[in-house]
Structure formats: structure tokens, C-alpha cells
């Protein structure tokens, strides 16, 4: 195998993984423009209440872990950091049920101790089909690789054999 190709094979996944780890580890920075709606994770909102003060508009997403009986307060599951409350008293959330994935746009009131929640202005409930629809895509890719490119686990190459290239030529 060409040395340059081998280097690419080794270095590119390492660089991708390195960038991903860098993204996970890098120190958090406050938004550059507090007037722009900020798309953030729930854990970030919980970790940095000093920055996300009212009336900052934020967008969060997460899986619905629970919903109050009145339907006014949604508890969004935020991973290992705990729960985050969303006050949905101003909008209709009747169609949302447990297990759904939702995007919530609202206003952070962390600076007000009497309002430890995000006041929702708009909610989009999200039922993803993409994982299921990716299955036929994966099957097609495998057909292309194993039938079209004659993928071989022996030499980790999708290419035709050298003798076949010569034969075709």
C-alpha cells in the first residue's frame, strides 16, 4: 500500500476522533450575541444559570421524561445532570407524551429565584423516523460495497484485485 494512502487511512479517523474529543472537553464560552436565540443543551443551561438570564431567549431539546398531570410543566430529561422544568402554561402541549423528543423555544428566568424554569413560547414535538429509514439505506450501502466494489476483509480494500484491473485494461 502506498505510504501516503496508509498515512491517510491512519491519520484521518484519529483527527476526526480528536476533534470530537476536543468538542467534548473544551471549556464552555458564553454566547457572543445574547440577543440571538441560543440553541443549547439542557445540561448547559443548568450549568451556567449566571449567563442565561432573563430575558434571554433560548432553544433547548431533549426527551420528555415526564409530564405533570395539569400539562403545564414539562420535565425534560437532561442526561446525567438531572431534570429541567419547562413552564408550558401559555401553549398547548396536549399532544406531547412521554418518550417524545421535543424542541422548546422560550425565555430563561434563572435570575429570578421564584421562576426556576424556562417559560415556553413554542414547542415542537419530534418523533424521529430517520433511524428506521436508515436501515434500507445501510442495506443498499452494503450491497454497493460487497457486490459493486467487491469489498474484501483480507486486504481492507473495496478495490478490484490488481489482476482484474490489468485484465480490464
Amino acid at each position: 500500500m502506498n505510504k501516503v494512502i496508509r498515512l491517510l487511512l491512519l491519520i484521518s479517523p484519529v483527527l476526526i476522533l480528536g476533534l470530537a474529543i476536543y468538542d467534548m472537553q473544551r471549556p464552555w464560552q458564553p454566547p457572543l450575541d445574547p440577543n440571538t436565540p441560543q440553541y443549547i443543551s439542557i445540561s448547559l443551561l443548568l450549568e451556567h444559570p449566571d449567563v442565561y438570564k432573563a430575558p434571554m431567549e433560548v432553544i433547548i431539546n431533549g426527551d420528555i421524561y415526564n409530564k405533570s398531570l395539569s400539562g403545564e410543566i414539562l420535565f425534560l430529561y437532561g442526561g446525567p445532570d438531572g431534570y429541567f422544568k419547562v413552564n408550558c402554561s401559555e401553549i398547548d402541549v396536549s399532544a406531547i407524551s412521554g418518550g417524545m423528543h421535543v424542541y422548546v423555544r422560550g425565555v430563561s428566568y434563572y435570575d429570578d429565584p421564584t421562576k426556576e424554569y424556562l417559560l415556553a413560547r413554542e414547542v415542537y414535538r419530534h418523533q424521529s423516523y430517520s433511524y428506521y429509514l436508515s436501515i434500507p439505506g445501510v442495506i443498499l450501502i452494503l450491497i454497493i460495497l460487497f457486490v459493486g466494489f467487491r469489498f474484501s476483509l483480507d486486504d481492507v480494500s473495496f478495490s478490484r484485485r490488481a489482476e482484474e484491473v490489468v485484465k480490464d485494461a
Binding site: M1, N2, I5, R6, L8, L9, S12, P13, L15, I16, L17, L19, A20, I21, Y22, D23, M24, R26, Q29, P31, L32, D33, T36, P37, Q38, Y39, E57, I59, G79, H101, Y103, R105, E122, Y124, H126, Q127, S128, Y129, S130, Y131, Y132, L133, S134, P136, G137, V138, L140, I141, I144, G148, F149, V156, S157, F158, S159, R160, A162, E164, V165, D168
Partner: protein
């Protein structure tokens, strides 16, 4: 993000369009499948996510989300294309293989730009620059839904109908791995 099937459908429509121009068809036919693989390559992180969800492994799940940021950027697509190209060591014209996968990856990024109707959300094309200020999107539809698949399916069906009328399925006529 659209599913892999939608991305492959978009790639097929592009390939079909190129195949109808004999001048370009002759020149680029070898790279059609590479374009198709490049079109789904930025979503390879999903494999890790599915495994992480299956194992309930939070760190791996967080890594998969970070990988999504990386792979859905210009830099990430360039790196993934390098990785895929490296699996074709014996092919001549390795630069063109890289370009085919790269264009497929860029096509993926363009397709993903339709997502997130709300301002402040989008793709971080300039990763490692992130934040709402660097989120690019046309703000049209939500990810995970069926609308992109319906639209793509309509286009693919249109190509099939045209091929049926013309009795010409030339896009499939090249057998890459023939003996």
C-alpha cells in the same frame, strides 16, 4: 438529519442527471457510487449512536453527538473523504476518488441545511467554530420527519418514469466490479 435512504435518493437523482449528458457520463461514470457513499458518509456517526443507545453508554453517546458536529462540517467532510479514499489504494486517479467522495459529502451538508425552522439552530459548517452565531440553515423543515423522503421519492419516481418512457436505464449499465 435525513435518513440514509433520503441522502442516497438525492445522490441517485444527481447521478441520473449527470448520466443523461453523454459527455459527462463517460468521464464520471466510474465515480457515481463513490459520490453516493460520500453522500451518506457524514452520518456514519449514527452507527456509534445506535450502539451507545443499545448499551446505554452515556459517554459514547455524548461522543457520538460531538462526532455529528465534526462530521457535519467542511473540515469533517474533508477528513471523512480522506478516510474513505484510503480504502482505494490500487485505483488510478486517487485525486478524483477523493473529489467524488468530497462532493458527495458537500451534497450531504447542503441537504442538511434545510433543517431547523427556528433561528439560532443549524449546521456548524465552520466547526470548531460553534454557537448560534455559526449555525447555518435555510430554516425550512424539522429533522427526523418524512417530508424530505417524500420529496426525494417523488424525484426518484420521476427519473424512473422518464427512463421507462425512454426505455433507457443507462445509469445502471456500468458494472464496477465485473470479472
Amino acid at each position: 438529519m435525513p435518513d440514509w435512504l433520503t441522502h442516497m435518493g438525492i445522490a441517485y437523482v444527481i447521478i441520473w442527471g449527470i448520466s443523461k449528458v453523454p459527455k459527462y457520463d463517460t468521464r464520471f461514470r466510474k465515480y457515481y457510487w463513490l459520490l453516493m457513499i460520500g453522500m451518506v458518509a457524514p452520518d456514519l456517526d449514527r452507527i456509534i449512536r445506535v450502539v451507545a443507545q443499545f448499551l446505554d453508554f452515556t459517554t459514547l453517546l455524548n461522543l457520538s453527538y460531538s462526532l455529528t458536529y465534526v462530521t457535519h462540517s467542511l473540515l469533517g467532510v474533508a477528513l471523512i473523504s480522506m478516510f474513505i479514499t484510503a480504502f482505494f489504494p490500487r485505483e488510478k486517479g486517487i485525486k478524483f476518488i477523493y473529489l467524488a467522495v468530497l462532493f458527495g459529502g458537500f451534497g450531504h451538508l447542503i441537504a442538511d441545511l434545510i433543517f431547523y425552522p427556528w433561528v439560532g439552530m443549524g449546521q456548524y459548517l465552520l466547526f470548531p467554530l460553534t454557537g448560534s452565531e455559526f449555525a447555518f440553515s435555510f430554516h425550512l423543515v424539522w429533522p427526523g420527519g418524512l417530508i424530505p423522503l417524500y420529496i426525494t421519492a417523488a424525484f426518484v419516481l420521476g427519473t424512473v418514469i422518464i427512463d421507462l418512457i425512454q426505455r433507457n436505464f443507462s445509469v445502471f449499465s456500468y458494472n464496477f466490479g465485473r470479472k
